[in-house]
């Protein structure tokens, strides 16, 4: 019997070696595999290259991973945010390397890795400093630059539901980078709200077929979700409004 579920997030990331390239899903808070990132911090692998759209916000998640000095290099499209002080500090101190990639080229380069494309000509970035030094070609009257795949050793992603074959469905805009990162990494670890019995997911609606998923770990429903449906009453960080008011 195929069973890709693993019992704990610690086990799910426990073999990530120093120096690994790791894709981390999510766009802002949506789809960020918070529990897996926390497990990676506990695990302590160092000298990592991280692929993510951003470079961390506030002091949790990816920012905490950076603050813990585990990351050598980050490949992303938008590191600078109002609350990206951890990255900002490391970058200004020269303690982290940055490869800045336009978001669509980032997505397509990740997709290319998963789809076995050797390189592709993209019109994005042509004539800008982010295309400096890249091979350029005019095709059918339009200018393009040659972009190469981004592969990873591991992908850490977040989805709504999985079955034991690793089929995944996502929720709303939390889908974002999950499906393409799952295909681009040698080992893909997905945290999900819940693992459902095989055959429960409609095969028409599976977004990530299990072939791309190596490990699944259930982390429980988020507080704005019940039985996979939105129950409302949360702030943008997912804190229930009542609870937050109580705390205040």
């Amino acid at each position: 019997m195929i069973d890709k579920t693993v019992p704990t997030v610690a086990e799910a990331v426990g073999d990530i070696p120093d120096g690994a390239t790791i894709m981390i899903g999510g766009f802002g808070r949506a789809g960020q595999p918070v529990e897996l990132i926390d497990a990676l911090i506990d695990h302590g692998a160092k000298n990592l290259t991280i692929v993510n759209n951003n470079a961390g916000n506030g002091d949790t998640g990816l920012a905490a991973l950076l603050a813990n000095k585990q990351v050598r290099k980050i490949i992303c499209s938008f590191p600078r945010q109002s609350d990206s002080w951890v990255f900002d500090g490391l970058y200004r101190a020269g303690e982290i390397e940055l490869e800045l990639v336009p978001q669509g080229n980032l997505a397509e380069r990740i997709r290319a890795a998963g789809a076995g494309i050797g390189a592709f000509f993209s019109p994005t970035g042509v004539g800008t400093e982010l295309a400096a030094g890249k091979e350029e070609r005019e095709i059918d009257g339009r200018r393009y630059v040659l972009e190469y795949p981004i592969k990873a050793d591991f992908a850490l992603i977040s989805a709504l539901r999985a079955d034991r074959w690793g089929n995944l469905v996502y929720r709303e805009t939390a889908r974002n980078f999950g499906p393409i990162m799952a295909a681009a990494a040698t080992t893909t670890v997905a945290q999900v709200d819940e693992v459902v019995p095989l055959g429960t997911l409609d095969p028409e609606t599976v977004v990530t077929p299990g072939i791309f998923t190596d490990r699944v770990v259930a982390v429980g429903e988020r507080r704005w979700v019940r039985d996979g449906e939105f129950v409302g009453g949360v702030d943008i960080e997912g804190q229930p409004l009542e609870e937050k008011e109580d705390a205040a």
Binding site: F27, G28, R29, A30, G31, N53, S77, F78, P79, R80, Q81, F87, D88, Y91, R92, L98, L100, V101, P102, Q103, G104, N105, A107, E108, I110, R111, S122, P123, T124, G125, V126, G127, T128, E129, L130, R143, Y170, R171, E172, T173, A174, R175, N176, F177, G178, P179, I180, V207, R222, W224, V225, F230, G232, G233, V234, D235, I236, E237, G238, L241
Partner: protein, 212 residues
Amino acid sequence: MSTRITRDELAKRIADDIPEGAYVNLGIGAPTLVANFLPDDLEIILHTENGLLGMGPAPEPGRIDPDLINAGKQPVTALAGAAYFHHADSFGMMRGGHLDVCVLGAFQVSQNGDLANWSTGAPGAIPAVGGAMDLAIGAKDVYVMTDLLTKQGDSKLVEACTYPLTGVGCVSRVYTDHAIFDVTPDGFAVREAFGDNTLESLAELTGLNLVR
């Protein structure tokens, strides 16, 4: 002398130019205001590059859903008829020329349609580009929404951009607080001058040869 319209007026003016059925991406910042002026009785479909077509307005208070956000990472809603997709599909949609209009902010636009809106190139600044370069080259029409002049009084319409480029020859039209300019092979054409602005006064403000 009335020479400027307000930002809301400008947003409304842009909204008026977007036809029913258009697929539209509104960039982060001022362009987001355009959504407030799209007529309720017209169906205009908003795209957000983090994976949603058919984006609706901000949710009611207390109904924020952290899985449902826009490119600016603000909470939004999804309309009936919406569809979700992953990032490669979303940017394929943009790069493939399927969006009718995108509206972007700008530091500078050159008279051949080059756009600079992602970096001032200031030393020590941390660079961040996001989807700006993809949006700039992706939509059928790229509209820029901006003040004509910087706070220092310099024209944002220029002969050639001095800031780092976002895209080359990509802008179709510039909506400013003084006038609307089309990018043409002969340079900026004044499509509509607001208030007391004239071709001549605009030429003086911008220091450019403008055409009608």
